[in-house]
Amino acid sequence: MTGRAPVSAAPAVRVEHLAVVRGRTRAVDDVSFELDAGTLVGLLGPSGCGKTTLMRSLVGTQVVSSGTVTLLGEPAGSPRLRDRVGYVTQVPSVYGDLTVRENLSYFATILGASSEAVERVLADVDLCDHAASMVGRLSGGERARVSLATALLGSPSLLVLDEPTVGLDPLLRRSLWSLFHRLAAAGTTLLVSSHVMDEAERCERLLLMRHGRILADTSPAGLLSSTASEDFESAFVALIEGDVLGKRGVPAAGEERP
């Protein structure tokens, strides 16, 4: 793509040479990428590859070793981003000793969101029937949805979701992904992590991570064609084997990125 100047202003997310050392591991190792506003991007990779660490660096809760992260034109962690970025942690972070509605009302007040927002997100995550239940007595998947609903309260411009669909049944997963697509269509940028490769096909763009590095930055179709695979799981295996053997990497197929 040549006409880069007049397109949209700044990217929603710009990460440059980010490195994070946690304990003795380089959890994120020289990672750079940009996300355009209004895109739905999947961050996929095996357990321990650094997805959570990368996401924490984006939302500004992670002490980083080097590199820069810019969201919506502001440095990560800037106070001006606090009501514009929504983050769902991998482990649901809501109060188990409050009801679903009490949790949402509290976080809505903190975010300055209205009480209609509470009803809206309850419907979004299909928890209207459980609004009066204690969160501590919900199932794991229900609790995860309360945590997700909390991040949707403030209608943020950027949503960082750490494995939001883990442990959910296929129907619910489908309805959440269609919600993510609706949000992206309305201009929200979403970065969604998963270690279930099947979820790759639901994203517009994929960042594949391994050992703290971005192995490939591609589209679902591009990933399949460049690895000559039928499904995403074997595509990822092929990618890793290629990485191990020749360090050749995979061309950023399908996408018009440089």
Partner: protein, 245 residues
């Protein structure tokens, strides 16, 4: 309203307490029973309960609130809710003061019930104003909350948090003048006792026990305890980290 988030936090903590009626019952019943036990132990020993009663009336709430707050805030730290709040437009002061208000209200209920029992059925008397004993008890409970908030930053598990009670509170208790009057302590310990908030908390109730009028020393004690309270809250706020390794 600027303090909207602080009030919401206080309301949320109180709602959590309401969903846990057993904790609320313990909060009130434990000091009530302990004071009753003390009254029984000291029955017939002339004015002993009038001496020890008011002092312990301030110390029990401090200990209870210290424990409750340090466990509550540790849960927020380890459960990810604190991290989530700090990625939202939440000031650290909103969080700390929200907790102080919620547990302060709980402390008022606790102090009213327990001192009602002490001055009523247990037969405790003080020369000074009884309501000032209640004020000091609430102030001590708030101090316990503030100390619990800052100390919980040092703990990474609930086991550790619970151990901080004997580590931080019992030495203060030993040096506060309850066991040996502070001027009779070994010189170094006497100096150290000046640095500990509980010395002033205990002295304030002693002043109320022994003087009919409000003494300047009582006022000084209250001001110093208030100063420790503000300092501990500020320290608690600085222990809240938006970025962690």
């Amino acid at each position: 309203m600027i303090w909207r988030r602080m009030r919401a936090t206080a309301g949320r903590v109180l709602r959590q307490l309401r969903h846990d009626p057993r904790t609320v019952a313990l909060l009130v019943a434990v000091p009530a029973v302990l004071m009753g036990l003390l009254a029984w132990i000291l029955r017939g020993r002339s004015h002993d309960f009038d001496t020890f009663g008011p002092q312990l009336l301030g110390i029990f709430p401090l200990i209870v609130m210290f424990l409750v707050t340090s466990v509550a805030t540790l849960r927020e730290r380890t459960g990810g809710t604190l991290e989530r709040l700090l990625t939202m437009p939440m000031r650290k002061a909103d969080f700390v003061l929200g907790y102080a208000i919620a547990f302060g209200l709980a402390a008022i209920v606790q102090a009213l019930v327990v001192s009602g029992l002490c001055f009523g059925p247990y037969g405790m008397t003080v020369r000074g104003e009884a309501w000032l004993v209640v004020v000091v008890a609430v102030l001590d409970a708030l101090l316990g909350t503030a100390l619990g908030l800052s100390v919980s930053a040092l703990a990474t598990t609930e086991f550790q948090a619970v151990q901080f009670m004997p580590a931080f509170i019992l030495p203060q208790l030993l040096l506060s003048g309850i066991i040996v009057p502070r001027p009779e302590l070994p010189t170094v310990l006497h100096w150290v006792s000046y640095l500990l908030p509980m010395s002033y908390a205990v002295d304030a109730t002693q002043q109320l026990s022994t003087h009919a009028a409000v003494t300047t020393q009582f006022l000084m004690d209250v001001i110093v305890v208030g100063g420790f309270l503000v300092a501990a809250l500020a320290l608690g706020a600085t222990t809240l980290r938006r970025r962690t390794p």
